[in-house]
């Protein structure tokens, strides 16, 4: 009953191609956007901003990026942390060289730089496939983190090796630095995430996206029917890296403010969690990227609340428990629903279509 599509006719090509073809979806999406843009900014506080909303938005973006590469084009990458570091450090370097440039432009340029780096590290994918490629992308992770850690030019020869963001404004309101109000950082991320998600969704529905999926499903067959593997794989690497680079730039400039590369962009803190997000959310699904990011960001908070505040374990023991539960959840998810949360959602939609009269 709730999710009934009966009576909703598509009478033009335009309506046939709509991103949300169903009225229910349109209403749900508009409500969500209304809440996100017009209600949350007024009620947001620093805790919600720092702990949940901003990391959720940033990791959604990273998850979309990785999903383009892994979910849509089928190239497994474990180098997400390295590419996010490229985004962060490009932002930092551009900020120091062009102090007057608008922060939005800086972040987008950082994305482009990351895309270029992504193309370079994507080159092996033309020869190497599967696990060999996954391990090869680890090379980019280790190399990039080493580069930013050991070459002083990247962190402007500071003693600690840390990079720190300076204050930048949009329309007169600071969005980076310690003084930035919660609603400003939130809205800044939200605008970028919403715009880029729409761009990604449309890219995936375009010729480029279809050729990615052709390569993913069977690369030789795709090549035979005329999908150029070189262009397709490298474009997937470039666009995926662009998203991941923007996420990295936001992670540094808007979210953390000051970072130390070996700590913030470690394989254990970024690469695996982001891969986990797209697996848990659903490979090859836009919605999945968001669901996975939400899950991964909120779970530790929930677990910590449960174990430290309710049961009264010490922080260290709780941390160990958290790692264990992470691992077990990953396994359970893969066994019970290997297509992720997005699949659960589509099952729920099926059920809702006939509810409450299933026969």
């Amino acid at each position: 009953m709730i999710y009934k599509e009966t009576g909703q006719y598509k009478s033009s090509y335009k309506s046939d191609h709509a991103i949300f073809p169903l009225l229910q979806d349109k209403i749900a999406f508009s409500t969500l956007m209304f809440i996100a843009f017009l209600i949350i900014p007024f009620v947001i506080n620093s805790y919600w901003e720092k702990a949940i909303l901003v990391p959720f938005l940033i990791f959604s973006l990273a998850a979309i990026g990785l999903n383009i590469l892994t979910g849509y084009c089928g190239q497994v990458s474990l180098g997400t942390g390295g590419f996010m570091a490229v985004g962060a450090f490009s932002t930092y370097k551009i900020m120091t060289y062009f102090p007057d440039m608008n922060i939005m432009i800086i972040i987008l340029i950082s994305g482009l730089i990351t895309a270029a780096v992504g193309i370079i590290f994507g080159l092996p994918s033309l020869r190497i496939k599967g696990f060999y490629l996954a391990v090869a992308t680890l090379a980019s992770q280790f190399f990039l983190v080493w580069l930013f850690n050991k070459v002083p030019w990247f962190y402007n020869y500071s003693d600690t090796g840390q990079i720190t963001v300076s204050e930048r404004t949009m329309f007169g309101i600071p969005v980076t630095g310690a003084e930035a109000p919660s609603y400003a950082t939130y809205l800044f991320c939200l605008v970028l995430v919403v715009t880029l998600s729409f761009a990604a969704k449309n890219l995936i529905r375009s010729k480029m996206g279809r050729s990615w999926m052709a390569i993913r499903d069977m690369d030789i067959a795709a090549e035979i029917i005329g999908v150029p593997p070189l262009k397709t794989k490298l474009s997937a690497f470039a666009i995926s890296s662009f998203y991941i680079g923007v996420a990295g730039a936001l992670y540094f400039a808007v979210f953390l403010g000051a970072i130390e590369v070996t700590e913030s962009f470690d394989i254990m803190t970024i690469s695996f969690p982001v891969l986990f997000m797209i697996i848990i959310g659903g490979l090859g699904s836009m919605l999945g990227s968001f669901l996975g990011a939400a899950f991964v960001v909120t779970l530790p908070i929930g677990l910590k609340f449960l174990m430290v505040d309710m049961v009264g374990l010490s922080a260290v023991t709780a941390k160990h428990f958290e790692i264990t539960i992470w691992g077990l959840l990953m396994i359970v998810f893969l066994i019970v629903e290997p297509h992720g949360l997005a699949r659960l959602w589509s099952i729920a939609k099926e059920k809702l279509r006939r509810w409450p009269f299933p026969y």
Binding site: V76, P124, R127, I128, K129, G130, F131, Y132, A134, V135, A136, L138, A139, F142, F143, V145, W146, K150, V151, P152, M218, I220, A221, I224, I267, F272, L275, F276, I279, V311, G312, L313, S314, V316, T317, H320, F321, E322, I323, T324, I325, W326, G327, L328, L329, M330, I331, L334, I335, P338
Partner: protein, 334 residues
């Protein structure tokens, strides 16, 4: 012989020996990959877990002591003061076999016929879970592991080589860690006994049959599941050996599990499916790393290139041979 040349030989020797340590980890990967098609990311954590357990048994720690003490306000720490090494190693082996059984029961059984990438992700989950359990069980402080393997420089080799340099040059002889020599000996014994086992015993032949073709093996009456348990137990055993070696060298701590990341370039260099590949790959990477650190590392004033050099080396190699040195030839059909 000139001092430079002797130094070169020393570097190569040390590289070979650290390569043996990588091979030990890579061997566990290859065994599991061949037999069950699972790329077991948890191999490094296996080593950590085995080393933690061994220390725990040796010193008589109460498992989950921290957790129990925090929950019930008790103060348990040790059951007994010490345990003979032999018994502790035996108990650790039993534990690793039990672990293999649990993994097969709880994880692998449910994931038969899934995509390799799903299985890979599951082993990442396994790595996280096992690491958490290890820490909960035995505590996360750095522990000293001593099973009686000597360490420190080899005096014998130093004295044997001191005369090789030309007269008058102040050459002090080669420095090689005794621990590494022992590791090499143990690795050789391990590989030889593995080879003998898989060639001459019934179970070993069944193991190779499963590695060759799952379905054919099933159809001649080999139980896939018991073979899988066996393979995971063997790689658990190899992980224990690796854990003992690495643990003796640098203490038992979380970073031990990162040796898995060290072993990955070895794997892609040698090929995922080849045991000789794992060994030769390990030696190549070990030597390459040490030589690079000394002869190329100097050009980067920042040093510490060993973090990524192995990967780049493996990567360059892969461009010419995408299946690794000894890996199965990749045949693609539509």
């Amino acid at each position: 012989m000139s001092v430079e040349f002797l130094n070169f030989i020393e570097t190569v020797l040390n590289g070979l020996m650290s390569g043996v340590m990588y091979s030990l980890v890579a061997l566990g990967f290859v065994l599991i990959f061949k037999a069950s098609g699972v790329f077991n990311f948890a191999q490094g954590v296996f080593a950590l877990f085995a080393a933690l357990t061994l220390v725990g048994y040796q010193t008589g720690q109460v498992p989950f002591a921290h957790l129990i003490n925090e929950l019930f306000g008790t103060n348990y720490h040790n059951w007994y003061a010490s345990m003979p090494n032999f018994l502790a190693i035996l108990l650790t082996m039993v534990t690793m076999i039990a672990l293999a059984w649990i993994i097969e029961r709880l994880v692998l059984k449910h994931l038969v016929n899934q995509d390799p990438i799903i299985l890979f992700m599951a082993t990442i989950g396994l790595a996280f879970a096992l690491e958490g359990v290890g820490d909960l069980m035995w505590g996360s402080d750095v522990k000293v592991l001593d099973v009686g393997i000597p360490s420190g420089g080899s005096v014998w080799l130093e004295e044997a080589t001191i005369g090789l340099a030309a007269e008058g040059s102040d050459y002090y002889g080669m420095y090689v860690d005794v621990l590494n020599i022992w590791a090499t000996i143990i690795a050789v014994i391990l590989v030889v006994s593995l080879a003998l086992f898989s060639q001459y015993t019934k179970t070993g032949r069944a193991l190779r049959a499963v590695a060759d073709d799952h379905q054919a093996a099933l159809s001649v009456g080999i139980s896939l599941r018991s073979i899988w348990i066996l393979v995971w137990a063997i790689s658990g055993f190899i992980a224990m050996v690796a854990g003992i070696m690495w643990g003796t060298e640098s203490g038992v701590q979380f970073s031990l599990s990162l040796i898995a990341l060290k072993a990955l370039p070895v794997l892609i260099l040698g090929g995922f499916t080849s045991i000789p590949g794992a060994i030769i790959g390990g030696l190549l990477i070990g030597v390459g790393e040490k030589l690079a650190e000394i002869y190329i590392g100097g050009y980067f004033e920042t040093g510490a290139i060993e973090n990524w050099f192995a990967y780049v080396m493996a990567l360059v190699f892969l461009l010419f041979r995408p299946q690794g040195l000894f890996g199965d030839k990749i045949i693609e059909r539509v």
